[in-house]
Symmetry: D3
Subunit: 312 residues, 6 copies
Amino acid sequence: MSGFEVDRVVDALRHVRGEWRDAQKRPREAAGREFPSRDALSTLIEQLKGALFPMRLGPSDLRQDGEDFYVAHTLDVALHALLDQARLELHYVARHAPRPAAEIEAQARDAVRAFAAALPGIRRLLDTDVVAAFQGDPAAHSVDEVLLCYPGVLAMIYHRLANQLYQLDLPLLARIVAELAHGLTGIDIHPGAQIAGGFFIDHGTGVVIGETAVIGQRVRIYQAVTLGAKRFPVDAHGLLQKGLPRHPVVEDEVVIYAGATVLGRVTIGRGAVIGGNVWLTDDVPAGASVTQAGLQNEKARPAAQPLPVAAT
Amino acid sequence: MSGFEVDRVVDALRHVRGEWRDAQKRPREAAGREFPSRDALSTLIEQLKGALFPMRLGPSDLRQDGEDFYVAHTLDVALHALLDQARLELHYVARHAPRPAAEIEAQARDAVRAFAAALPGIRRLLDTDVVAAFQGDPAAHSVDEVLLCYPGVLAMIYHRLANQLYQLDLPLLARIVAELAHGLTGIDIHPGAQIAGGFFIDHGTGVVIGETAVIGQRVRIYQAVTLGAKRFPVDAHGLLQKGLPRHPVVEDEVVIYAGATVLGRVTIGRGAVIGGNVWLTDDVPAGASVTQAGLQNEKARPAAQPLPVAAT
Amino acid sequence: MSGFEVDRVVDALRHVRGEWRDAQKRPREAAGREFPSRDALSTLIEQLKGALFPMRLGPSDLRQDGEDFYVAHTLDVALHALLDQARLELHYVARHAPRPAAEIEAQARDAVRAFAAALPGIRRLLDTDVVAAFQGDPAAHSVDEVLLCYPGVLAMIYHRLANQLYQLDLPLLARIVAELAHGLTGIDIHPGAQIAGGFFIDHGTGVVIGETAVIGQRVRIYQAVTLGAKRFPVDAHGLLQKGLPRHPVVEDEVVIYAGATVLGRVTIGRGAVIGGNVWLTDDVPAGASVTQAGLQNEKARPAAQPLPVAAT
Amino acid sequence: MSGFEVDRVVDALRHVRGEWRDAQKRPREAAGREFPSRDALSTLIEQLKGALFPMRLGPSDLRQDGEDFYVAHTLDVALHALLDQARLELHYVARHAPRPAAEIEAQARDAVRAFAAALPGIRRLLDTDVVAAFQGDPAAHSVDEVLLCYPGVLAMIYHRLANQLYQLDLPLLARIVAELAHGLTGIDIHPGAQIAGGFFIDHGTGVVIGETAVIGQRVRIYQAVTLGAKRFPVDAHGLLQKGLPRHPVVEDEVVIYAGATVLGRVTIGRGAVIGGNVWLTDDVPAGASVTQAGLQNEKARPAAQPLPVAAT
Amino acid sequence: MSGFEVDRVVDALRHVRGEWRDAQKRPREAAGREFPSRDALSTLIEQLKGALFPMRLGPSDLRQDGEDFYVAHTLDVALHALLDQARLELHYVARHAPRPAAEIEAQARDAVRAFAAALPGIRRLLDTDVVAAFQGDPAAHSVDEVLLCYPGVLAMIYHRLANQLYQLDLPLLARIVAELAHGLTGIDIHPGAQIAGGFFIDHGTGVVIGETAVIGQRVRIYQAVTLGAKRFPVDAHGLLQKGLPRHPVVEDEVVIYAGATVLGRVTIGRGAVIGGNVWLTDDVPAGASVTQAGLQNEKARPAAQPLPVAAT
Amino acid sequence: MSGFEVDRVVDALRHVRGEWRDAQKRPREAAGREFPSRDALSTLIEQLKGALFPMRLGPSDLRQDGEDFYVAHTLDVALHALLDQARLELHYVARHAPRPAAEIEAQARDAVRAFAAALPGIRRLLDTDVVAAFQGDPAAHSVDEVLLCYPGVLAMIYHRLANQLYQLDLPLLARIVAELAHGLTGIDIHPGAQIAGGFFIDHGTGVVIGETAVIGQRVRIYQAVTLGAKRFPVDAHGLLQKGLPRHPVVEDEVVIYAGATVLGRVTIGRGAVIGGNVWLTDDVPAGASVTQAGLQNEKARPAAQPLPVAAT
C-alpha cells in the first residue's frame, strides 16, 4: 500500500534474518527472547545505587528516618529483577550444553544470594574510593560533591557491582553493566579487572582497563590511560588461549598520568609514578618514576622537576 | 514583577536575538521552525534499529511469530517520520535557492524510497560487522552479546544508516544521526566515510574518522584512532576546496591499534598493522607493520616481538 | 522473609552507613537532603538552553511570535529553580561555618539576580562561538547545523552558564553543570576556565581544560587536547596551595591540534599553532608553530609543509 | 505466522472498513486525519483552566509574582493549539461544501481571537459560580475548596468554554469539550445551553441540560435533574426541525431538587422551587413551589413543611 | 525509626492480612499474583479500539495507507496480551478444580483465536450502533462526531468486546472490561447482556442493564434507564439459582425514555415506547406506549400528546 | 506580538484576578500556594490502597515474600506526603485565626500518627465490605473479583480513609478524597457519613450519602439511592445551623433498592426493605417493607410478591 514498498522491504528483511539465523545455526522459528535485557539491568543498577547511597543517590525526598524502608523495598525489587536476568543468562549459556532447569534455578538463586550478601562490602570499598577522590583532587570541596559529580566514582560504582557479577559466573550481565558505565562516562573497565580500595580516576574519558588487570590500594590514574594487553597468547596450534593473565599488575599507591599506555603482564612497583603519554611494556621498580624521557630512579629525580600531570 | 527582573532580561534577549538575525540576514519575523529535529531523528533511528534486529533490539516482549507485523508497522512509522525530516532539510537548503515545492516533495519521497530499499543490504553489512566483532575480540562470548553490548557495533548501526542518508543528498540528517552516535559512544565517524563490511572498532572512545576516508573489508581499529586530514586543500585563490579526498585509504584486513593517528590521503596497504600511538602521514605497503620505532617489513619482524595492542 | 535475606543486608548496609557517617563526623540522624540535585540542575539548564535559543533549542512547535512568552515563563521557572539550588549549596557550605539564614537567602537571591542579568551577554558570546564553529569547519553547512549538531558548541553553552555560576561563588552548582556537559559530550571543561568569544572545539572527545586556564579570542582546539597543570603548587610546609594559576594561557587565534598536551602556567602566544600529539611544557612565542619535531619559527616554515590536523 | 491468524483478521477488518467507507460514500484511499482530536482538546482545556485560575489550577509550584509569565505562555500555546483544532473542524465541515482555504483560515483565526478576548469575561462569570457554590452549600468551608473539589464547578469551567466555542460556530469542538466534562463529572450539559452567572450544581451526577435551555441568575440544581425536550419538533413533512427552542427556560433564583425532570419549552418563574423527583411539563409561576403532590402557591405553603432537598 | 511507627503498622497490617487469608482458606505464603490485571486489560482494550477504528481511534498521525501495518501489529500485541490474561483467569478458576496446565493453555489459545475471528463481526455491529446514534440524535452532525464524542458509543465498543469474552467463558475478563466502561461513562452493562445491532444510549449516565437482558434491533434508550431483575430466583431450598433468565426482553425498535425502570423477565413488544420515569414490571404489547399515567394503545394516542423524552 | 493579542488578554485576566482577590479580601501579592493538592492526595491514596491490599492493588509484580518491604516503604512515603498535606490544610485554616507554627506542626503530626494507627482497623472493615459484596451479588465469582472490579468497593476504600481524615479534623483533605472517589465511580459519599462494616453498594452510579447519615452493619444499597437532608436547619435568626443531624439513620441489615430517596433525620429500622424509586421522609419500623404503593407490614407481605430490585 505504502509508497515506500514497506511490504517488499519487510520480505527482504525477513529473508536476510533467515540467512543470518541459518548461518548461526538457529531455528527460524523460536520461542521468545532468551537474552538478558540492557534496559532491565540499567534500571536495577540505578536501584542498587540508591540502596547503597540512599541519602545521596536515592529519591530526592527521602528522609533519613525512612532510609531502611526504602533500602529494604528497593533491594527486594532489584534483587528479584537481577534473579530474572541471571536466569536468562544461565539459560542462554545452557542452550548449547543443556542441563536441568532446577539446577539453573538453584545456581541463579545462589548467585543472587551471594551478590546480596556482598553489597555491604561493596559499599565499604566505594567509601574508600570516594575518600580517595576527595583527597586526590584539590579542587574537590566535599565527599558529597565527589559522589554526585565525579564520573570516575560513578564508573567505580558500576564496576564494583559488575565485578561481583563476573565473580559469580554471570559474565554477560557483568559486561552489560560495564558497557552502561562506559556509555555514561567514557571509562571502559572490563568487569574482570581486580581493583582494590581507594581507587581514583580523574577526568576519566578514554580510560581502558583490561580483563586480567590487577590494581592495588590507593592507585590514581588520569584520563586516557590504557592498561592493555600486548598480544593475545596463543597455544602451540596457534589458537587463542583465553583467560591467561595478559594485562598489567599495578601495585599500591601508583600514580599514572594522562594518556599513558601500559601493555602486557608487566608489574608497576609500589609507589611508582608513570608520566603523561608514556608508552610502557616493561616492569617498573617500586618508587621509580617514568617519563617520556625514560625511567628515573626516584632518589635521583631533582626536586624541582615537573611531573607531567593532568588538568586538575 | 519578579525579583529577578525577568521582563528586562527578556527584552535584552530579544534584542540580542534581533542582532543575530540581522547579522545572519534573517527576517526578524518568520514563519516557523524549518530545521530538522534531533529528537525526531533519535526516535526514528531507534525504531529502525528495532526493525533491523527485531528480536534483539526490538521491544522486549516481541515474539518471533509477530516479527513481521512489528517490522512492517515500525518501518511504516519510521519511514514517514523520515520523510518529514527529509522535507525539512530540503526546504531548508532551498531557502537560498528557491525551487518548486513539488520538486522538493518528489526528491524527499524518492530519497526515502531509496533509503527503505537499502535497508536489507544494510542489515546484511551489519551482520558482517557483528561477526567481525565476535571473531576479533576473544572476550566475546556470542554474537548476541556483541550486538547488545559493544559500542563499536552500535556506532556502526548508526553510521551505516547515516551514510545512506549522506549518499541520498541529505547531509544534515546524516550529520545529526552521526552526532547521536558520537554522544552515545564517544565514536565520531563522519557520515561520508566509506566503510566496507566486517569493520570492528574495539573500546572505541575517542575514535575519529573523516569524511573522505575509505575503509576496506575486515578492518579492525581500537580506541582513540584518528583517520584525519593533514590540511584543508585550498585553490589558487586560497579558498577552501570542499569534497576533495583528504583522509586515508585503509585497505582490507588492516589493523590499527589504540591511539594511532593517520593523516592525509595516504594508503595503508592490505593486511598492514599500525602500532599503538603511531603518528603516520605516509603510505604503508601491504603487509607491513609500523610501530613507534618506525616501519618494518613484515617478513623481517621476529616472531617474538610484541605488537602494541589494546586492552582486550 | 525473602530468600535473599534482605533484612540482613539492610542491617549490614545501615551499619556501614553508620560507620561512614561517624568517620565523616556527621549525625547519624539528620534532617533531610541538604545537597544540590543533579536532576534539578539538568532540567533547569535545559530550560535555559531553550530560553537562550528559543527557535532552535526550545520546544519544536514554538512560533516566532510566541517567543517572548515562552522565554519569560521559562526563565521565570528556571531562575526560581536555580534559586532553590543556590540556597542548597549555600546552606551546605554554611554547615561548618554557620551564619544567619537571612544572609544566605540574600546571597542566593543576589546571585540569581546577577546570573539572570548576565544571560544576554552569554547569548552574545555563544553567538560568536557558533560563528567560529561554522567558519572553522569547512564541513559545516549552516550556523543552524552547528548549533544543533556540534558537541563542542553544546559544551560551550553549558560552560558559559557554569562559569557564570562559578564567578557568583556557587562552585558546586558550577561543577555539576560542567559534569553534565562532560557526560553528554566527553568534553571536560572546569567551570573556572576563562574562555573568550569565538572558541571552537572540533570533535571534542577527550578534551580536558583546567580551572585556571585562560583562553583568548577565536581559539580553535581539536579532540583529546589537554590544557593541564604540571604539578600542584605547594607552600613552604608542603601543603597544597589552592587557586594559584597553574594552567596554560592561550592567546588569541591560537590553534591546537588533536591530542596535544599543554601543561603548566605557560603562555602560547597569539596566533601560534600547536601540532597534533605535541607535548608542551614551555612558552611558545606568538606566531610560532610547534610540531612533534619541535618549535619552528613561523616565517621559516615552508609553505608546503603539512600541518598535523584533525579529521575534519 | 501467528497462531491467531492475524493476517486473516486484518484482511477481514480491511474489508469491513471498505464497506463502511463505501456506505458513507468516502474514498477508500484518503489523505489523512481530518477530524479534531479529543486528546488535543483535553490538553488545551487543562491549560486554559490553569490560565484562568493560575494559583489554584495552575502548576503546583507557581508563585504569584510569576503568574503573568505563566498565563501569557500558557495562553499562547493553548490558543494556537485551539487554532489547529478550529481549522480541522472548519475543513471537516467544508468537505461537503468546499470553499477557499484562505476563507477557512480567516474564520478560524477570527474565532480564536474572539475566544481569547472572551476569556476575562468567562473568568468573571466563573467567579460568580464559585461564590454561588460557596453560599449554596453550608458544608463548604471556603471558595478555594469549592474551586478544587466541586464537580459542579469543574463542569461549569468546561461548559463556559464550550459554550463560547458553540457561539463561535465551532459546534464539534464545543461538543467534545462538553463530553470531556461529562466523563469527568457525570454532568451532561449541551454546549448550546445559555446559563447566567451564579449557577450551582450540587453533587451533579446524572444532570442533563439540553441545547436550547436558558437559565437565569443564581439558579441552583441538584443531582439527576433533567432539563430536557418533550419531543422533537417536526415540520409539515414530518422532518425534524433543528434549532427550535425545545428545552425549559429557568428564571433567576430558581431551585430544582434532585431527580426532578422538566421537559419542553416551559418557563419556571423567578424564585420558584421544584421538589425532588418532580415530573414537570408545564409552566410554573414565579415564587411557586412544586412537589410530587402538585403545585403550591408560595404564600399558602406552611412554614414548617419540609422541602425535598438533596444530601448536602 | 519513623515518628509514625511504620514498623508497628506494618506488623498490624500483616496480622490482618493473615487473618483474612486464613478466613479465605488461602496459604499465608503463596507464589505470586494469579489474578487478571485491570491495567493490562485497559491497555489492550485501548489497542483493540484502535485496531477496530484505526483512522478515528488509532494514533493521531496514522495515514490510511499504513492502516494495515498498524492494525496487524496492534492486533498481534493486543491478542497476546489477552492470551496472558486469559491464562490468568483460567488458572485462577482452576485453583479449586485442578486440571492439566496443557488443557488450560489449549483453552486459553482457543478462546483468543475465537475472539480474534469475531472482531470483524464486532466492527460491523458497532458500525450499526454508530449509524443508530447519528440517526437517533438530531444534534449529531456526523458519524465521526458520534464515534469520538458519544459515551453511549464508547460503552458499546467495550460491551461488544466484553460480551465476546463472556461468551468464550472468560467472565472475569469480561467483567473487568465492563467496569472499565462503567468508570468512563457511568453506563453499567453486564457483559452477559445480549444486544443486537443499531443500539443507541443517549446521555447514558446511570443506565444499568442486567446479565440476562435481551435487546433487539435498533433499540434506543436514555440516561438512568434500568433493565433489572425483580428478585433473585431461588430453588426449593431457598438457594439462589444462578443464570436463570431474570431481566427484560426488549424487542426491536423499542424506545425507553430517561429514568424508566423495567424489572423482571418481562417482554416489551416491538416498537413500544416507554415514557420517562415509568416503573414497569409487566409485559408491554408491541406498538404500545406507556407513560407514568399508564398503558396506552398506540392507535388511541392523540397525535399532539407529548411523549416524555430526554434532553437532546 | 501574537495575532490573538495575548498581552491584552493577560492584562484583562490580571485585572479580573485582582478584583476577585480584593472581593475575597486577599493580598494581591502573596507568598505561594497554601492549599492542599488534589494530585498529591490522589497519589498518596493510590499508595495507601496498595499498602492495604498489597497483592491485589499493589504493583503487579509484587511477590508475597516481599510484601512487608513494599508495605513499609509505601506507607512511609504516603504518610509523609499526607503530613505535608495536613500541614497545608491546618495553615490554611489558621490564616484567619493565627496560632503558633509549632502547634500546627504538632497537630499535623498527631493526626498522621493517629491515621497510621487506624489503618489496620480500616483494612479489617474493608474486608467485611468485600465479603458483603461477594455475598450480596449472586453474579460475583470471588472476593478477588469484587475487590478489583466493583466500584462500590472502590468507593468504600476511599470513604473509609476519607472518614478517618474527617474524624481527625482534616475536613478539606477528607473532602478532596471523597471527590476523587466520586469522579471515579459516580458515588458521592460525604466523608462525615458513619458507615459500619459489611456495607455494599451495587452498581452505584448516582448514589449520594449525606454528612450526618448513620449506617449500620450489613446494609445494602443500589444505584441512585439518596440519603439526604430535607432542609437545612436554621436557628431563631434564620441562620444555617451547621453540624446538626439532618440525614437518615439506617439500621443493620436494611436493603434500599435503586433510585429510592430517603430524606431527613428519619430512622429505617433493622432489616427493613425500601423498594425502588420510593420517596421517603418518615421513619420505617424494623422489618417493614416499603414500596411505591406504600408501607407494608413484613408479615402481611405475600411470599410471591416481587420486591423491586436492581439489575444484578
